[in-house]
């Protein structure tokens, strides 16, 4: 379906480009058609732009919003402050990130990629739709501490934004819905699908696995694949993976569902791009993959909501650990973290 839409979009763009010799001002629309593509072999995404057609102007507006500190109360913090591209749009070396006035919260800034496949957002899954995601950090008093109403006012007062809203949506009206839709035109387009693993699966050049990577792939399939399911390396479920609660006593998913059965459950993170996105876990407590593997081997805390698959832990031999790490390394997508399309335009 998506591919069909993109094909129609591309074809119609070509038709448009050929139907007349446009003057240079008209050229903007015809050049570089932007389309959301589902990588080969991937499932149907949850968000497909059916109510928010992707276009270059919308993408550029979303990118500008993403990197604009104006979206915070004191104009110091942007989305990009805690979601940095070189870190897979997470924040490297920060168990928790610094918000406005250097306030800190309880949870690790999650990486941003392949978001159109997500069925919920945040570690507790409290947000049920990608278009509703950006407003949460903007209005959170310890993150950007701004109101969406003020954001609308600030952007309306800015001639550059007014013209960008016109280019993206047809007129200069700025409202929270358009802001949300522009955000998703950028955030949803951030797809990471060119790691060595992907090339291996597609049989492309550069995708030949070494014996150790193949062995690691098997270790993954036997021990990790149920929850960190291919090809997104998460099943988007909420699970308690046996981390002992800290003094924060973050109840996780139960904060949203108010159900004791969901205590200490968190949304399953992807195993893609681990090289760039450390530290790990919902509170960023582990800096290395070795620490994570040791947790699964011997650190699991038994509790009523512990995932049943983890009740006995996951004990791996040293060799299996090394092999698994070699495989996980094939999930790091260098093209994605260096893709200039996603960079701030200065």
């Amino acid at each position: 379906m998506i591919r069909k839409i993109s094909i129609i979009f591309i074809l119609s763009s070509i038709a448009f480009a050929q139907s007349c010799k446009p003057d240079p001002d008209m050229d903007v629309k015809a050049e570089a058609p932007l389309a959301f593509n589902v990588p080969q072999g991937w499932p149907t995404p949850s968000y497909n732009y059916s109510n928010n057609p992707v276009n270059k102007a919308g993408f550029e507006l979303g990118r500008k919003l993403f990197y604009d500190t104006k979206l915070s109360k004191d104009n110091t913090i942007s989305c990009g402050s805690c979601h940095q591209q070189f870190s897979g749009f997470a924040q490297i070396d920060h168990p928790v990130s610094h918000g406005i006035n250097d306030l800190v919260g309880n949870r690790n800034s999650p990486p941003l990629f392949n978001l159109n496949w997500h069925t919920s957002f945040m570690w507790d899954g409290g947000i049920n739709h990608i278009e509703n995601q950006p407003i949460a950090p903007i209005q959170n008093p310890i993150e950007m501490d701004e109101t969406m109403a003020n954001v609308v006012t600030k952007l309306q007062a800015d001639a550059t934004y007014r013209s960008m809203f016109k280019a993206a949506f047809g007129d200069e009206t700025v409202n929270s819905q358009r802001i949300a839709k522009a955000f998703v035109q950028f955030m949803g387009m951030i797809v990471s699908s060119n790691a060595k693993y992907d090339k291996y699966k597609r049989g492309e050049a550069g995708g030949a696995f070494t014996q150790q990577e193949l062995d690691g792939y098997n270790v993954y399939k036997q021990n990790c694949a149920t929850c960190h399911a291919e090809p997104l390396f998460t099943d988007f479920s909420f699970r308690n993976n046996g981390l002992p609660p800290t003094s924060v006593n973050d109840s996780g998913r139960a904060h949203i569902t108010l159900s004791a059965a969901d205590l200490y459950k968190f949304k399953m993170p992807s195993l893609r791009n681990l090289k760039y996105t450390w530290p790990y876990m919902h509170d960023g407590r582990f800096n290395t993959i070795d620490q994570v593997l040791n947790h699964y081997a011997s650190g699991i805390m038994q509790s009523p909501t512990l995932d049943t698959k983890l009740s006995g832990g996951i004990a791996l031999t040293d060799q299996q650990k090394e092999d698994l790490k070699a495989f996980l390394n094939t999930l790091n997508d260098e093209e994605f973290v260096k893709n200039t399309m996603f960079q701030e335009v200065k």
Binding site: C20, H129, I135, A149, S176, A180, L258
Partner: protein
């Protein structure tokens, strides 16, 4: 070839320009005197907020059923999915039926129903709150804009109804009332259907009919769950307390009169 194509484009542009000129000429602003204003005709619902028999006025003190004294600084609620039932079975269903009634904003209290056909109407039905579909459909606008301060950004969903105010009996410092009633999913849904019988309303399309609906805020604290502000003055999450209030306010509406 190129020049021929250019000629084609030019001709098209010319035709479009002529059409535009004609169109602009035709859409001259109607004379405000001869054209009746839309408010002068149509089928309207008018919500009048009360505390028992007194009109709700902000910052005036009232008593709840438990004789706790309180005043109100904000009273807002969503009305959605409005329909009318006629005596011959042809029903009216409002499209894009989402309205935020805000006691502080008089214009929000009148709902003009578009496209109601002539007939005898015997019942009005609506939902208190925003249906679950619009709670899971991403960014909305108009009455559903999150900037109306009726939206939870951390746990996606609309606050279906809200009272803010003050009561000396409220136990939590600084004695504020903040009842934010939200939840659209089972078992925490606070959505409640309201069905009100009308004394038969004969409506012709060029006529004006206003159904005045009385909203009694006192019902929030009365039945079936007696609310004492010393026990319950803040509701800021889904759950049992929100359910209690929703069960209470489900019958806060009544037909007052029709004119």
């Amino acid at each position: 070839m190129v020049s021929f194509r250019k000629f084609g484009v030019m001709r098209k542009l010319l035709i479009i320009s002529i059409a535009l000129v004609l169109l602009l000429a035709c859409t001259k602003k109607p004379d405000p005197v001869s054209e009746p204003k839309s408010e002068d005709k149509g089928f309207m619902l008018m919500f009048d907020n009360y505390v028992n028999s007194d009109k709700l006025i902000y910052d005036k003190y009232y008593l709840n059923e438990n004789k706790d004294s309180f005043k109100v600084s904000a009273f807002k609620y969503y009305i959605s999915n409005i329909s009318l039932k006629s005596d011959d079975g042809h029903n009216y269903i409002e499209e894009e039926s989402y309205h935020l009634i805000d006691n502080g904003k008089d214009s929000s209290k009148i709902i003009s129903l578009k496209g109601v056909k002539a007939g005898s109407y015997i019942q009005v039905q609506f939902l208190i709150g925003v249906d679950s579909a619009r709670n899971v459909s991403g960014a909305q606008t108009g009455a559903l804009d999150p900037n109306n301060a009726m939206f939870w950004d951390w746990n996606t969903g609309y606050i279906m109804a809200k009272i803010e105010g003050y009561s000396p009996q409220a136990s939590k410092y600084p004695n504020n009332l903040a009842l934010h009633i939200a939840g659209f999913k089972h078992p925490n849904s606070v959505l409640r259907w309201v069905t009100l019988s009308l004394p038969t309303v004969k409506y012709a399309e060029n006529q004006k009919v206003t159904v005045h609906i009385k909203t009694n805020l006192a019902e929030w604290f009365r039945t079936p769950n007696l609310i004492k502000f010393s026990d319950l003055s803040i509701v800021a999450s889904e759950g049992k307390e929100a359910q209690k209030i929703a069960d209470n306010y489900a019958d806060m509406f009544s037909i007052d009169h029709i004119d």
